[in-house]
Symmetry: C2
Subunit: 227 residues, 2 copies
């Protein structure tokens, strides 16, 4: 599907012509991103029997940044890091969520997300389109301390939800404790203390049988660990 | 119900003892606030046929602060304002949402929210309990430019959702266009330009019959406007 041709939510109910044009463009975007509340993730909520959506997840990361920034190994600007997590999943409005353990989806993820970013940020006045795109690019590139910490939170939050679910997506066929540890390396890259906490949770989950210790090959030997 | 005696989510599945105690307290809080995703508001989503929850709403406000801060009439610190909106509804985890047009609920709201704040923030290490409480108090008091802007966004977001729903909660019995204008005064107090935009939307909604023009008394005269 060509995302550039999808109708906007405000096409159903256009904003009044009497609005200032810049404010109208901003409010059309604000309405359009309501769709993030409908993009479902794999993670099960701890507080209810349903999956989490991207808007809830983004809010949760923002709160985690505020609370856990003290554990960052490099100094970070908390306000800027919160901005990164607030915008980091917006492109999934058109590109969809790519589950953490979906290697096939991951191959087309970048192209899908770039097209989605062009479409979505293009709704904004040019200066703000560039500003939001820059925040998203910064998050993806992980070249700044703030983006590394944001990415660490993006991995720590579902880990906590999986813990509360007694495994959650760790029980996906083919996933092993070592694969989980590999995907969670972003946490330790942002904060040694939080990386250590993540390992405590994964180790205990493995002991309890919530995630398999190793993928067995046909001859009973463990398979090679994930890259 | 005594909120201080309610079990925590992590009581069902305690975090491992091997965690650093400060990190364990922070992570217990991070898990507990998952409940914000289950607190339903009156606002209907624009992108789906269901009501919004507080976590989604808080995320939406954070994005609006980033995009609309340029319209603030007083200079604001965007990062700090985002922090205010991320924490502003946390106490509703125990106190529940008080609908904007529920005058009865509003009378007990403060006491319920104070008890909820004691309980929830008390889960955190003392320094962070004080920090989050201070953010919430700042939002509630509206004595800083940042808190006034945050409050304005808190009123603008449901206005946009009601617009998209062709009235939404404006159709609540007893609500009139003037009552809506009175509740939206917080928007104009933060930004004249956004306050003007809000009035354009309400005026047009009134013209379309999405909200009643006046409450009629038994003798056919309009009732007194709301305080």
């Amino acid at each position: 599907m060509d995302v550039a041709r999808e109708p906007l939510l405000t096409d159903r109910n256009p904003l009044p012509d009497a609005l200032d044009p810049r404010i109208a463009a901003q409010l059309r975007f604000v309405v359009e991103v309501d769709r993030l509340k409908t993009v479902l993730r794999q993670s099960p909520l701890a507080a209810a029997s349903r999956r989490e959506n991207d808007a809830e997840h983004s809010w949760h990361l923002a709160l985690m940044v505020i609370l856990l920034a003290e554990h960052a190994d490099e100094p970070i600007d908390v306000g800027h890091t919160v901005k990164l997590v607030v915008v980091h999943d917006l492109v999934e409005i058109h590109a969809g969520d790519t589950p953490l353990y979906d290697d096939v989806g991951a191959r087309t993820q970048e192209a899908r997300e770039q097209a989605a970013a062009d479409r979505l940020f293009g709704l904004l006045p040019g200066d703000q389109a560039r500003e939001l795109r820059a925040l998203w690019d910064e998050f993806e590139a992980r070249e700044t301390p703030e983006s590394r910490f944001a990415k660490g939170m993006d991995r720590l939050e579902p880990l906590l939800l999986n813990w509360m679910a007694g495994g959650g997506t760790w029980r996906t066929p083919g996933v092993t404790a070592d694969a989980v540890r590999a995907r969670k390396a972003h946490i330790g890259a942002a904060s040694a203390a939080l990386g250590e906490a993540a390992l405590v949770l994964i180790d205990e989950g493995e002991r309890r049988g919530w995630v398999r210790s190793a993928e067995r090959t046909g001859d009973g030997r463990p398979a090679a660990p994930p890259a």
